[in-house]
């Protein structure tokens, strides 16, 4: 019986690894194509290149836009995720601690943002009226507006598990609302804060819909948009396109490797509680 179970588990393990190839092989293909010659890359196969042409990467890196777009992405993603987390944590704190009817209505309005589709055309109109269309300010404020519902939801669930007695003793010690939040509560929210930063950062980094609609000047584009532009220019050189894809994947994979635990816990916490 025990032996039988061990055999079942072993075959399950082998099967699971074979299945993982479905995920891994496309990445491997891109990696191989990125060091092939133009003609070899055109076959898109998994065969090893006859010669490893790392020069493809140098060719891609010659394009100066890659560097500026990296910093554009970094700036936009950082600004958007920081603004989102501060305003969302503050709002979730007050709503969770003081559950008046009005506050709960506000909370459900935030949750509406998880389901409702964004209206791009009228958003453009509002951004024109506010004079922030085609600017960084407009872009990161818009990202924040989009990320706020999920982030408030994440914080709301977590703040409920922090004992309210803590607030009371801090207030008795003479803490005001602002100090109570920023010096006592906010440090305790660190796990959610890390999760929220990573998820929002990645979402912003990966997004290309907002620049497509609202950021027309190419000097403001992030890495993903520049890669898309690169693809349209070098459409027949899959080796260069693949090298550009790998360069784009690198920062994402690094963030994933560092923050995997937080990404997974954040996404499941949100989903399971909901």
């Amino acid at each position: 019986m025990v032996k039988h179970r061990r055999l079942v588990n072993l075959s399950k393990e082998v099967f699971a690894w074979l299945l993982s190839l479905v995920i891994l092989v496309p990445f491997l293909m891109v990696l191989l194509n990125s060091v092939k010659s133009v003609t070899e890359a055109a076959t898109m196969s998994l065969s090893l290149p006859s010669e490893f042409l790392f020069s493809n990467y140098l060719e891609v890196l010659k394009d100066k836009r890659i560097y500026s777009s990296f910093f554009n992405s970094l700036f936009l993603s950082t600004a958007a995720s920081l603004i989102t987390l501060v305003v969302s944590a503050m709002a979730a704190f007050v709503i969770s601690r003081n559950r008046t009817r009005l506050n709960m209505v506000v909370y459900s309005i935030f949750l509406l943002g998880l389901v409702a589709p964004m209206n791009y055309v009228t958003t453009m109109k509002v951004m024109q009226m506010l004079n922030i269309i085609n600017t960084y300010t407009g872009a990161y404020l818009l990202y924040s507006a989009i990320f706020i519902p999920f982030t408030v939801f994440l914080y709301f669930g977590f703040i409920g598990s922090i004992p309210k007695e803590l607030d009371e003793s801090a207030v008795i010690d003479g803490c005001g609302g602002g100090r109570l939040f920023f010096q006592v509560i906010f440090p305790l929210l660190k796990p959610v804060t890390v999760t929220a930063i990573i998820i929002n950062f990645l979402n912003c980094w990966n997004d290309f819909i907002i620049p497509l609609y609202f950021l027309n000047s190419s000097d403001k584009w992030g890495m993903i948009m520049v890669m898309y532009n690169y693809f349209s220019t070098y459409i027949s050189s899959w080796n260069l396109v693949s090298a550009a894809m790998i360069l784009n994947l690198l920062p994402i994979i690094v963030v994933y490797a560092i923050g995997q635990k937080y990404i997974i816990s954040g996404m499941t916490a949100g989903a399971v509680k909901g």
């Binding site: 389901v115 207030v171 399971v272």
Partner: protein, 290 residues
């Protein structure tokens, strides 16, 4: 009084103002502008009643993108939930390298859809792509297709790519849900000689009902809203055969037909609201009936 002073409403304002101005307000405005002829050609915006909606429903192309959107949302949801549950059950117990496998299965969800799209343009290439090569290699060459060029197949290909991308996410939520299945109940049923099917339908499924609901809901919502996967794979082509509602909205926006585009956005809003409420009602009724 003490409560209202410490937990000041001012704390909610920054988030609420930002969300209101750049998300809610545009949605409300959409209802008005969908009734106008707003476009990039003329300065004046004229109220035209339900003309945009009439035009949408009289256009034979609309049937196509509505059908595609519903088909995409339905089949990605069914496949993602089924495959995600299968993966979760497989990884849940008895596998030593569970952590590493979970990391791999989850990986595609954090990759930009644009990269995924370009990657699968290569994988699904009719003559050189590795999918057709693999099919030929295992002797199934009759199954090879022009995955992204054949109007008959293109929607299924985009559905397949979405499942490839997001099944790992569904799996993660199911894995968390499976931790709530009581070990004692499973052991007791083992002693009573229950087979796997019985355990699955009578114990596991009811325990993870909340995860099934949330996965279904999230998949349907993201399926109806799909834009970037299809934009990067086919941009709605060949012709309009893989066009979904958000692609149409973008195309109409690019052509400067703002009123028409907004009307489509309003339709989508109504779609999503009705379907989400419907799903929640179906599931909650099931739960209360036991």
């Amino acid at each position: 009084m003490y409560v209202n002073k410490i937990y000041s409403k001012k704390f909610i304002l920054p988030a609420l103002i930002l969300f209101f101005l750049l998300f809610l307000l545009p949605s409300f405005m959409g209802f008005y502008y969908s009734l106008t002829n707003w476009n990039s050609m003329s300065e004046k915006i004229k109220f035209i009643g339900l003309d945009n909606f009439k035009e949408i429903f009289n256009d034979s192309g609309s049937f196509m993108f509505i059908k595609n959107t519903l088909m995409y949302a339905f089949f990605t949801t069914v496949l993602k939930v089924a495959i995600g549950l299968g993966l979760a059950l497989m990884l849940n117990e008895g596998i030593k390298t569970k952590g590493l496998l979970r990391t791999i299965y989850f990986l595609p969800i954090i990759i930009s859809n644009l990269i995924v799209g370009l990657m699968f343009q290569q994988v699904l290439h009719p003559s050189n792509g590795i999918l057709n090569h693999a099919l030929e290699f295992i002797g199934l060459s009759f199954l090879t297709q022009a995955w992204l060029e054949d109007p008959q197949w293109v929607m299924w290909s985009t559905i397949g790519v979405e499942v490839w991308k997001a099944a790992g996410f569904v799996m993660i939520i199911f894995l968390a849900g499976l931790q709530t299945v009581s070990k004692e109940t499973i052991e007791a049923s083992d002693m009573d000689g229950a087979n796997y099917w019985n355990k699955f339908t009578k114990i596991i499924i009811p325990s993870i009902a909340p995860s099934i609901l949330i996965n279904t809901l999230l998949s349907v919502i993201s399926g109806l809203k799909v834009f970037d996967v299809i934009f990067a794979l086919t941009n709605g082509g060949p012709g309009r055969s893989s066009e979904v509602i958000n692609i149409t909205i973008f195309n109409q926006f690019s052509m400067g037909n703002y009123g028409y585009s907004t009307a489509l956005g309003v339709l989508m809003f109504i779609f999503l609201a009705v379907i989400s409420i419907g799903i929640i009602m179906i599931f909650t009724r099931k739960e209360t009936n036991g």
